[in-house]
């Protein structure tokens, strides 16, 4: 089982409302967790963590969504990026 991290650069000039809308959209889907990072050059990136095939199968077998089963682990993955 392996979590997959995807980084997507947010458009320059995106407002706080635009960024919050992106987070809401991702979290209304099946992502395990997501966070917005600001790099040294001022660019903002949306980082999302997703489950692989085995994790999805395991969650479905338990009658849960991948986030319900692996969300806490995904949060730790994101937290370790900033530590």
């Amino acid at each position: 089982m392996d979590m997959h991290v995807t980084e997507t650069r947010l458009p320059d000039g995106a407002s706080d409302a635009d960024i919050q809308a992106r987070i809401d959209s991702v979290m209304s889907g099946y992502a395990l967790a997501c966070i917005v990072e600001t790099r040294g050059d001022g660019s903002k990136w949306l980082v999302r963590v997703d489950a692989d095939s085995e994790m999805i199968d395991a969650a479905i077998a338990d009658g849960k969504t991948p986030r319900e089963k692996f969300g806490a682990q995904a949060q730790q993955v994101l937290a370790s990026r900033n530590s």
Partner: protein
């Protein structure tokens, strides 16, 4: 341009052409002679025009320089002897003399050109900065619009009421448009399975893969597919 000079040159050219066309047998040379006349007239006009314009520009600059210096002198004449002594007055007179000569005029033209260059460069830089700001905003807006459209597609894909299970499986197994990143994301969710057989797994896979769509054609194909 002095018209008399141009007229003289044209007459000379005309005489040359007349000499060329003394017999009817030489009719075949008419065209080339006329071409010579046109080209010669053009060259003569251009050269004299440029010389005249240069002389006129230098003369105007000399006059302008002298007027500027004259203005400065007259403004100082109201001052006391202590504030504007004879030495300073003589120096200004020398400046007035220099302002009216050829080197002074050329220097004046050069200074004017430099000032114009600086001004033009500042305006060009300001225009470039403004363009870049607008382009950044425009690019950002395009990206935000694309993201919004992808979010709409995903919202349909996630909701069984909007996209029946069979349709979700069909889209995951036979996507209407793909790219390399889309296929890679789909493959991570599919794992070693040949096809998607679980509708929830298919929706989860599409939820992430659709974010990888980039071109207008890809997005349009998906918009059409999920709304069928």
């Amino acid at each position: 341009m002095r018209r008399s000079d141009l007229f003289t040159e044209l007459v000379a050219l005309g005489a040359g052409i007349a000499g060329t066309l003394t017999t009817t047998e030489q009719a075949s040379r008419v065209f080339s002679a006329v071409s010579t006349a046109v080209a010669g007239t053009h060259t003569a006009f251009n050269e004299k025009f440029l010389v005249d314009q240069t002389v006129q520009a230098l003369t105007s600059t000399m006059r302008a320089n002298r007027d500027t210096t004259k203005e400065q002198i007259f403004r100082k004449l109201n001052k006391s002897i202590a504030d504007y002594p004879l030495v300073a007055a003589l120096s200004d007179l020398e400046l007035y003399r220099q302002a009216g000569n050829l080197p002074g005029a050329m220097l004046g033209i050069s200074q004017t050109a430099n000032a114009a260059t600086t001004d033009a460069k500042a305006k060009a830089n300001a225009a470039e900065r403004e363009f870049n700001v607008l382009r950044t905003v425009e690019t950002g807006q395009v990206a935000l619009n694309l993201t919004k459209r992808l979010d709409d597609i995903k919202a349909i894909v996630r909701e069984p009421a909007n996209l029946p299970d069979a349709r979700a499986l069909a889209l995951a197994n036979r996507p209407p448009a793909i790219n390399a990143e889309f296929s890679a994301r789909l493959a991570i969710a599919r794992g070693s399975d040949a096809t998607f057989t679980n509708q929830l797994k298919a929706r989860i896979a599409l939820d992430r893969a659709i974010d990888a769509l980039r071109s207008e054609d890809e997005v349009k194909a998906w918009e059409a597919a999920v709304r069928q």
